[in-house]
Symmetry: C2
Subunit: 375 residues, 2 copies
Amino acid sequence: MLILVGMGIHGYKGLSIEAIEAIKGAEKVYVEAYTSPVRGRDIDALRALRADVVEVHRWFVEDGRRVLDEARVGDVVLLAYGDPLIATTHIELLVRARRAGIACKVIHSSSIVTAALGVCGLHVYKLGRVATVVSSPIPNTSTYYAIYSNLMQMNHTLLLLEYDQEHGYFLAVDSALRLLLDCEARERMNVIDEDTFAIVASRVGMEDMGIVGGRIGSLLKHSDQHGFGEPPHTLIVTGSLHFTEVEALRASVMLLDEPIDNSKRVSTRAEMMLPNYIARAYNALSRAREYIMHAKGNVGNKAKDKDEDEYEDDAIGRIKDMIDNAEYYLSDAERFAREHRYENAILALGYAEGLIDALRYLRDIDPWASKKKST
Amino acid sequence: MLILVGMGIHGYKGLSIEAIEAIKGAEKVYVEAYTSPVRGRDIDALRALRADVVEVHRWFVEDGRRVLDEARVGDVVLLAYGDPLIATTHIELLVRARRAGIACKVIHSSSIVTAALGVCGLHVYKLGRVATVVSSPIPNTSTYYAIYSNLMQMNHTLLLLEYDQEHGYFLAVDSALRLLLDCEARERMNVIDEDTFAIVASRVGMEDMGIVGGRIGSLLKHSDQHGFGEPPHTLIVTGSLHFTEVEALRASVMLLDEPIDNSKRVSTRAEMMLPNYIARAYNALSRAREYIMHAKGNVGNKAKDKDEDEYEDDAIGRIKDMIDNAEYYLSDAERFAREHRYENAILALGYAEGLIDALRYLRDIDPWASKKKST
């Protein structure tokens, strides 16, 4: 039988009765520390329980043949940090075992995914998509947009930081924050800046756990002056905060700044573009009205005959109706935008723009261009 | 000290070394089974460890005064199912304790939030906002929209089902599914129907765990014919599935149907409205062209003088330019929609509509109305 056992986030003492029974009773016990680190003293404690615990590396689990062969004939335990099925590599091993007809068992344990939110007093129901910050810049773009979508949904974002066991490498908190600010500099969607409120949760579940919250600018300063201590570190970019969450942050987190609602600081492309576009259209509208006044004044002044006067008078009346209608649609666009009905707002705005711009085709005047000159 | 201890999802044997030490060493040990159920045999096992374990009810934890008074002078353990900080009521107790200067400790444990996804072989990185299905219809509307946003982001939705300890009430799987279909009937956003793929994860972490996946129609039939056994049950509405997730589902889940990509079956309001609106605008455009042809043919036929003919000829030429431009903008709208640039698509569409509709004001013809008659 293949038995995947979670070490949880509390180290050796976080092992459950069932996990210890499995470790004691198995033919073979492996512990892997590459998906997430397992501290040396916890491996020592495991070895005190059973001297023949073997620490294995990435290739051993990814290759998996030896584990599966052994699991065919006896009980094999594979221990890993946290909840074992958070790592897709463990799911893959499990799937291969099941397909090969090998009995499987999973002993779940505590995970940073739920614990990190809980220790900060944040509601797990508001957790959005979990993402990872890595040291190479490009993959972080998708993390940046995960934060964006989560904030748009008012959700919190849990950010895991890259860990590379082979090179003993943990992405540092300040580097992770700077990588996210770099994404902002590239993407310019106003998702994250030095004023964004974030939380650094360090060593969650360990005796020396530390949680610091503040604006990213303050966190970077804190990093320079005091650091955040030993890894692992986890970042949280909070979304909208319920008042009980704010109270919990005040009671549970070392706050460098008061928490703010980061979700209020992001907007959709539509929200960003509408106010300017609507203002620009109102400007064009007033230029159109000026034209109508002027054209009306001209009727009868230089006309060659009465018929033509009537013709022009009628045409100007129709244009005035059209521009009045454009104004109704512009005020609809404003109202829809206030109601966050952005599709309707943009459609009404576009329609008003079309009506106003008809003047360009019909009367050789460009309400938009003249507006530009006037500003 | 106040010690919050998670029972995890594996029952008594899921308790960790640290948790058992805390239970043995505390002055008082309470277990609450109202945020989630704790099985009788697990409470019996706790009582075998310590005869004076007290089972407490909602009011006891929510009031919290006795727990806090006792935690001021000695160690008090409060045990709860899963990871204790998933329940906001436990976070609130912790915050009150910290504010009162009472030392606190949290012993985390496995949670259904991460485990349910893992046992199905789904990636926890694709977990969207967690939601709850309750027996009264109205609150499920927000759950319905949580599924919608999660699907739009290609994320999975974990749905917890209502549990009421006082009345011994669990929301049944079939009722939960029907309540979601009722939301669809009301909201009509094409989020969920009998063809949506979903997973029923029953008794996750227990020996008699069962996981069944299939289209909602099939799951309802399965519920009638076989049922899903004892609670607790959890639902998952999957988003986009990575091929390793599909393989894992095939290996780990009793499948009534092949998994499908539910995310492909949802669309934004913009995606839904654009094809119809663009088609309607093309129709209006061709009516406008018919009018132009007709008006051109009339020039010179019934005109009173040459000046008027020239005037009309010029005016029709300008209208033709305008309608040609409307067509360019319509084809832009189509292209933007294909590129998922919906804001740009709607703006271009609205602008084209405005240009076409200028004819209504200027020439007393309604390209939209005539189109309606023609369909």
